[in-house]
């Protein structure tokens, strides 16, 4: 029986050898450069509080403080040198700590961003949501203009090209501005929410394929 252990290998080798003539069944190992696509996310938290019928908050953040692209690439087994593009695929939000007022609503909310002294670009617009209860992830409507998304994509790819180092802070620091109406106006608002930034990443890998 010992000899039979090797028969499958022998048979395979013989079959491949006999058939080595370009027939459809003849395996041929070829290198392929395949472009993969993976997703990545990062979550940023916000606390919103105040009184009256409107929300108006401005803050400045360095994107690198909340977005670890190197880690996202590592989590997906991607070498940064093989990444060809990183882009924003979408935004989602959720209420993590609800407003004490169960009927709390955000009406026609918007988020703008700007880098340095550049003009504000609208990222999210026409945002209506309930904030009186914990929610699951909901789609945040991107502004149709797309200019803010273009700015984010530019920052992402600047970060990518600088890895493993970081670009100067003025490149990755943005000021965001959250505005919108809120009801009921007579009751102060106070809730915490999160924004999930969904990224789509593409890069090349070299693989061997039997054809």
């Amino acid at each position: 029986m010992r000899h039979f252990r090797y028969l499958p290998h022998l048979a395979l080798a013989a079959a491949l050898g006999v058939a080595n003539g370009g027939c459809v069944l003849i395996p041929d190992i070829e290198d392929r450069i395949v472009e993969l696509a993976v997703g990545g996310t990062t979550v940023v938290g916000f606390a919103t509080s105040g009184s009256g019928s409107s929300i108006d908050e401005t803050n400045t953040v360095n994107i690198l403080e909340g977005l670890n692209i190197a880690q996202i690439l590592a989590d997906n087994g991607i070498d940064v040198s093989d990444v060809t593009d990183i882009a924003l695929a979408g935004l989602e939000y959720r209420i993590t700590v609800p407003d004490p007022e169960a009927t709390r609503q955000i009406v026609d909310g918007a988020v703008t961003i700007r880098r340095g002294a550049d003009p504000e670009l609208t990222l999210i617009s026409g945002f209506n949501a309930g904030a009186g209860a914990v929610t699951g992830w909901q789609v945040a409507p991107l502004d149709p203009g797309g200019l803010a998304v273009a700015l984010i994509n530019d920052i992402l790819n600047t970060i990518r090209t600088e890895l493993p180092l970081s670009p100067p802070p003025d490149v990755t620091t943005i000021t965001y501005h959250v505005t919108g109406g809120t009801t009921p106006a007579a009751v102060p608002h106070n809730f915490t929410w999160e924004l999930k930034v969904k990224l789509t990443i593409t890069g090349t890998v070299k693989v061997k394929v039997l054809t």
């Binding site: 079959a15 459809v24 395949v34 070498d79 989602e92 998304v149 789509t200 593409t202």
Partner: protein, 299 residues
């Protein structure tokens, strides 16, 4: 980045050859960027191709002795060619992404190697992974035949391999079992040898990345000449494939169940008994039309 031999299509060969590590790891990466519906479309060409190959070249003769020792071991290699329409699909927008025209066609697992960018509302972008640019699908399996008792022989296929837990693909396994029973023993005047065969196969990558189950039943007719033995068969196949993987964006597990497929399977081939081995070649009209060859030793 370091990558390994890719493509589920080569797994059986890789196991036999003993030299491949982590076949299909790249496939898992590519699936991780897709929602369940798009994974179903990305892997769409595989069920027919797997069904057409796994269910081929199992029974190559209608002649089953009533009794006596019969033993053969060999390798079966089956292949099918993909059509152009197998190479691309129109994706379904993932949650939270609304595509804007022009709507792109994107590669399936056998399609072009370039990722495709789809523009979305608000300037968003969604990348879809490239395929492996594969024109033909190959599947190989070792097969063992043992008989005969009461006009019945048993047929087994088996292959497995483990590549280590540090690989995304750490385990591959193929198992098939079936039997062929002589019909012509009840019909002595029949001009050909006839046998009824049934065969069940399970093929898994990483236990669950791809989990396939195939069932084949046929009636094989053959006629023996001094060396050659032409044969033909009519039967049907059923095939079920499921996939499970982790979404690279959210880390959530995604299961994709493909519909069970059933189809008629017609085979025509010829077998040659040489001094030291038996070889055969056949054509199949099944879920996907294809060719198969085999080489075996023993009687």
């Amino acid at each position: 980045m370091t990558r390994r031999i890719a493509g589920t299509l080569v797994v059986a060969l890789a196991v036999l050859a003993g030299g491949a590590r982590s076949a299909g790891a790249q496939l898992a990466d590519n699936l991780g960027a897709l929602t369940g519906e798009n994974s179903r479309k990305y892997l769409g060409p595989l069920p027919d191709a797997l069904s057409g190959t796994m269910n081929a070249a199992i029974f190559t003769s209608g002649k089953v002795p009533r009794a006596g020792l019969e033993f053969s071991i060999g390798i079966k290699a089956m292949g099918v060619a993909f059509a152009d329409e197998d190479r691309r699909f129109t994706p379904t927008d993932p949650p939270g992404f609304t595509s804007v025209p022009p709507i792109q066609q994107v590669p399936t697992v056998v399609g072009g190697t370039t990722a495709v960018s789809q523009s979305g509302q608000g300037g968003a972008t969604q990348y879809y992974p490239g395929g492996f640019d594969i024109g033909e699908f190959l599947f190989a399996a070792p097969q063992l035949t043992i008989g005969s008792l009461m006009g019945t022989r048993a047929v087994l296929r088996w292959a497995s391999g483990s590549f280590g837990s540090d690989n995304l693909i750490d385990k591959v396994s193929l198992f098939g079992i079936g039997a062929q029973h002589s019909i012509s023993q009840y019909m002595p005047a029949a001009p050909v040898d006839l046998a009824l065969g049934v065969f069940y196969q399970s093929f898994e990558l990483n236990d669950s990345l791809l989990d396939t189950k195939a069932f084949h039943v046929d009636v094989t007719a053959s006629r023996s000449f001094p060396i050659l033995q032409p044969y033909a068969a009519i039967g049907f196949d059923t095939f079920k494939m499921d996939a499970a993987y982790e979404d690279t964006g959210t880390g959530t597990s995604i299961s994709v169940d493909f519909d069970r497929k059933t189809n008629v399977h017609l085979t025509a081939g010829v077998l040659a008994r040489l001094a030291f081995a038996t070889i055969h070649a056949e054509g199949n009209i099944a879920a996907t039309n294809g060719l198969a060859v085999g080489l075996s030793f023993g009687r």
